[in-house]
């Protein structure tokens, strides 16, 4: 998985609870991305980062926030989880925006 870990790998939580997912990389790549994957949809970009403290929104960013205080860590936070955020979340990294993106193992999140 190109030196990418995600934690936790599985989580079950209740509606209205805050949740934070962590992506950690050992490749020192500049770009980091958060995607969600749902049946019937392709992978969809939530947020991405192009450097420490530099982030931008993707196509499905509502209800999510991100932070990147160190090159190696990119956090995704659901401030108040909803059942529609039940999904599998993938982190990806790339050296430059035009480079290949390499994906982590994913986090399966269930919101009851």
């Amino acid at each position: 998985d190109a030196g990418i870990t995600q934690s936790p790998r599985h989580k079950v939580t209740e509606t209205g609870t805050p949740v934070t997912l962590r992506c950690h990389q050992t490749e020192n790549h500049r770009y980091m991305y958060w995607y969600r994957q749902d049946p019937g949809h392709g992978l969809r970009l939530i947020h991405y980062s192009y450097g420490v403290k530099d982030t931008d929104k993707g196509e499905v960013s509502d209800g999510y926030s991100v932070s990147r205080s160190k090159t190696e860590d990119f956090l995704l936070t659901l401030e108040s989880a909803t059942s529609s955020q039940t999904s599998v979340y993938f982190c990806a990294i790339s050296e430059y925006s035009t480079d290949t993106q390499y994906f982590g193992p994913g986090t399966r999140l269930t919101v009851l």
Binding site: D1, I4, Y31, Y33, G40, H41, G42, L43, R44, L45, Y48, Y50, D56, G58, E59, F90, S97, T98, T100, Q101, Y102, F103, G104, P105, G106
Partner: protein, 111 residues
């Protein structure tokens, strides 16, 4: 609107039975087209990048080709271990910060 469509949604093959997966795209300007393989419960694994029409890339039993409207992933004499979901994604020249993914083709190869 930039769009990627993969077909078929699912494909069942006998071991050794060659076939092709299709990825058609409608984008304002193609920077690159990516193929990934995804096994159940795992993250997508990079296979190929194609940049211009006429380009081809090969890896073992897989060969990817690109035209101005679509890409094909040809699988020659597949084996059961080739069973996976194959994802196609495009990167648009006007916004290289994101990939646009298709919904994938789920391939099952039976012995």
């Amino acid at each position: 609107e930039d769009q990627v469509t993969q077909s078929p949604e699912a494909l069942r093959l006998q071991e050794g039975e060659s076939s092709s997966l299709n990825c058609s795209y409608t984008v304002s300007g193609l920077r690159g087209l990516f193929w990934y393989r995804q096994d159940p419960g795992k993250g997508p694994e990079f296979l190929f990048t194609l940049y211009s029409a006429g380009e081809e890339k090969e890896k073992e039993r897989l060969k990817a080709t690109l035209t101005k409207k679509e890409s094909f992933l040809h699988i020659t004499a597949p084996k059961p271990e080739d069973s996976a979901t194959y994802l196609c994604a495009v990167q648009v020249s006007s916004n290289t910060d994101k990939l646009i993914f298709g919904t994938g083709t789920r391939l099952q190869v039976f012995p």
